[in-house]
């Protein structure tokens, strides 16, 4: 499964997406946050742990209890600052 990241998270990661093996799909957003934090180093883990970092599933913001399946489009990003 593919996880998109934007803005500060993209900069910290040095890439705009993370590819996870398809067998690795966590049950929900909270589990995905933990999985990514383990694999991607302290700076990224710390940024991802910020409660202000949003997760969007299929282009809608969801909370940490939201369940996941491998075919969804998943993204993490900091608070929006448009307009």
């Amino acid at each position: 499964m593919k996880v998109l990241v934007f803005a500060q998270l993209r900069e910290l990661l040095g890439s705009n997406s993370i590819e996870l093996p398809d067998g690795d799909c966590p049950a929900n957003v909270a589990a995905l946050r933990l999985l990514l934090a383990e694999r991607l180093g302290d700076a990224f883990a710390e940024a991802l742990a910020d409660p202000n970092v949003f997760c969007a599933v299929d282009q809608r913001v969801v909370d940490d209890e939201h369940g996941l399946s491998p075919t969804q489009e998943i993204a993490f990003f900091p608070p929006m600052t448009g307009g």
Binding site: L4, F6, A7, Q8, R10, N52, F54, A56, Q59, R60, V61, A75, F77, P78, P79, M80, T81, G82, G83
Partner: protein, 153 residues
Amino acid sequence: MATVTILPTPLDPSVCLATFPRSADDTGAVASFCGYVRGQGISALALEHYPGMTEASILRTIESASRRWPIQHAQVVHRVGELLPGDPIVWVGVSSSHRSAAFSACEFIMDYLKVSAPLWKRERDQAGQWHWVEARDRDHKRAQRWGMSEHRA
């Protein structure tokens, strides 16, 4: 009717207004807003978006506005990429039979767009360093006064 455009090239608000669809029979009011890059201490601004979700999110905000006020057409054009002080960042136009619906919906769309559309700003200071812009508490307060969960707009 709603139109949302994410624009990587210069935005001309007067062209947006000139081409804004109207009906001679029942469009009595067009309220519009343009936001500009302010040059105070910054030499440039860069805007990043989430292709697909940004447009979808702004469309949902327009749909929320349509359920609250009898609006005819709403249009949002938002810049992405690198901008200079004085450049237009965003244009919002709303038409209606009467002015109060057009004003309210236009302000509502801007308030929600600020906090619920996936767009991120970086500023370049006078020394040439880029800094991410922090989300403003004031913007969240403005969005909340419309009494809706802001991130589900």
